[in-house]
């Protein structure tokens, strides 16, 4: 069941488009904002609300980088693996995160605290290497700085 809050937020987005179905991506993002990921059950509920087949929703969900069809950790680390960060040593940052978290890119830590994901260029190349944790951008990374930053996400 969608919560009243989720439903209201989705309905508000739906008014922005010529047809309600266009809000399906917004709907999945809204559900994910509240629950961390988009379950089969949630797809069924969105399908009913917007009149989009579940298969269509799933095809759309799996196309996009930022919609999760599996549970993720309490915090998601998006570490940039594109070219400017690579030149500035992102391989070292990946190796450090992997060792510290005990989770490879695409995996979640055993305690469910972090999911580590590679991400396309975050558009902050003048401060490379960079990452986002949840909604926050962090720049000029090095291993010790990553450790300090991650302490802030319990």
């Amino acid at each position: 069941m969608l919560t009243d809050e989720e439903r209201e937020e989705i309905e508000a987005e739906a008014t922005h488009y010529a047809v309600r179905q266009a809000a399906q991506i917004d709907a999945m993002k809204i559900v994910q904002k509240h629950r961390g990921w988009v379950s089969d059950e949630a797809l069924g509920d969105i399908s009913e609300l917007l009149g989009v087949p579940v298969t269509e929703l799933d095809a759309v969900a799996t196309f996009y980088n930022l919609i999760f069809r599996k549970p993720v950790g309490r915090h998601v680390i998006y570490l940039c693996d594109s070219v400017s960060c690579w030149i500035m040593g992102s391989a070292e940052q990946f190796a450090h995160c992997r060792a510290r978290l005990g989770a490879a890119p695409g995996e979640t830590t055993a305690d469910g605290r972090f999911t580590l994901l590679p991400i396309v260029c975050l558009g902050a190349c003048d401060h490379a290497p960079v990452m986002m944790v949840d909604d926050d951008l962090h720049t000029e990374l090095e291993p010790a700085k990553i450790d300090r930053i991650l302490e802030g996400y319990q």
Binding site: Q21, A22, A23, K29, A124
Partner: protein
């Protein structure tokens, strides 16, 4: 030197709110247009300014606006392309986060010129700060009567909505973007019909880049001729140029259109101690390498093409001699392979193959014949073989990398290792 695009942006300072923007002369262009310019006159001014699209392709903005037929049906749409996922590109972020009202005023003017009823900002999901800044700015603009019904007492009405994307490079391609806004997968659409005739939900739609739109208020305020003269070449205006990689001071600078890579590098303080310049991609991942011999080529929409590259987004990615060129090309092709939308075979299949060959070279498994295979593949990525420009873009750093760093590719195969280890 005039820097209209960044005149309101100060290091470490919050973006101007609506009132401060007005005090700096903001929303004057909108008043002028609504009071004393017909949409046709506005289109003419933009045409005469020689403003060309800053999203990478460089299409004339005035011409694009004139392609919406005069008797076309309503509602009409305009979309500001704020997807900015081209690796190495960080210019639209600055304009969105630091001068949101300039950008909104540009959107309003573009919308008025094309008789648009509803405009969308298509913002990449990761730009969370820009989303906050824009949400506030849009609310301020509605409250001041710059948006909504009968703007400033004129008969013109406009709604603007912010859409935050769920992330995929293909969303930036203008027809993929239209599908994404309709809630679908961001596969491209066949052209023609062009979006100006049939776009969102089959209605006339204009798609423009953030930097393009941000130029428009200045054209209205100061005139087409003034805008043309900001540039050193036939393409009008200033340009946000950038540099990332191992330079002393990476960053963005607003310079006259036609500034050279040497000038941009100078702004960046030159190369870091201990490394030398080997080459650069002049405007994002999907542009061809240029090298030291091209440092004095004016970076506009014409001159780089004469040496086999293009301006692209104008944000340079610098390759230094401490970095492996094969590794860099591999990183780029990995990106393109992953972001291919899967619509056409040469792209999804060819890119996966290219990526695997390059990875092999880096991991010491390069083989005789690899370079021929890579060269062979670049031919199928070229325009005409695929639906959209992603694959042709992927070919650019590959083909030019093979040309300029041929010896380095060969060494990887011969020595069965990456010499940069």
């Amino acid at each position: 030197m005039e820097t209209p695009l960044t005149q309101n942006i100060r290091p470490g300072q919050e973006p101007l709110d609506r009132e401060a923007y007005e005090r700096a002369g903001g929303y004057q262009a909108l008043r002028t247009a609504l009071k004393s310019m017909t949409p046709a006159a506005l289109i003419d001014a933009v045409k005469n300014s020689n403003l060309r699209g800053r999203g990478g392709a460089g299409f004339s903005t005035g011409l694009k606006w004139s392609l919406v037929p005069k008797d076309a049906p309503h509602p009409r749409y305009l979309v500001a392309n704020a997807d900015e996922m081209e690796p190495g590109t960080f210019k639209d972020r600055l304009l969105l986060e630091r001068d949101p009202h300039q950008f909104l005023e540009g959107m309003m003017l573009g919308s008025y010129a094309t008789a648009t009823d509803v405009a969308y900002i298509f913002l990449r999901g990761e730009y969370t700060q820009a989303a906050k800044t824009l949400t506030r700015a849009i609310a301020e603009a509605y409250a001041a009567g710059y948006l909504g019904k009968n703007i400033l007492g004129a008969s013109y009405s406009l709604e603007i909505h912010l859409h935050t994307s769920a992330g995929r490079y293909m969303c930036g391609e203008e027809t993929g973007l239209l599908n994404a806004l309709e809630g679908k997968r961001a596969n491209p659409r066949t052209k023609p019909p062009y979006p100006g005739v049939s776009g969102l939900w089959g209605m006339p739609t204009t798609v423009n880049n953030v930097e393009t739109l941000s130029c428009v208020p200045h054209i209205v305020n100061h005139g087409a001729e003034w805008f043309r003269k900001l540039s050193r070449t036939a393409d009008g205006g200033t340009k946000l140029y950038g540099a990332s990689g191992k330079v002393k001071q990476p960053g963005l600078w607003e310079l006259p259109m036609g500034a050279t890579a040497r000038e941009v590098l100078d702004r960046a303080g030159g190369m870091r101690e201990g490394v030398r310049l080997r080459g650069f991609l002049p405007g994002g991942a999907s542009t061809d390498f240029m090298t030291e011999e091209h440092l004095d080529v004016p970076l506009d929409f014409t001159e780089p093409q004469k040496v086999g590259s293009r301006l692209g987004t104008g944000t340079m990615i610098i390759l230094d001699d401490g970095t492996c060129p094969v590794g860099m090309v591999w990183n780029l092709e990995q990106f393109f392979a992953r972001e291919s939308c899967g619509w056409c075979t040469p792209c999804w299949s060819g890119l996966a193959w290219v990526e695997r060959i390059l990875r092999g070279m880096e991991e010491g498994k390069g083989q005789e014949g690899d370079l021929e295979k890579l060269t062979f593949q670049t031919k199928f990525f070229g325009p005409g073989h695929t639906f959209c420009a992603l694959a042709p873009g992927a070919a650019e750093p590959l083909q030019s990398g093979l040309k300029y760093f041929h010896d380095d590719f060969e060494r990887h195969i011969r020595e069965k290792r990456c010499p940069w280890g």
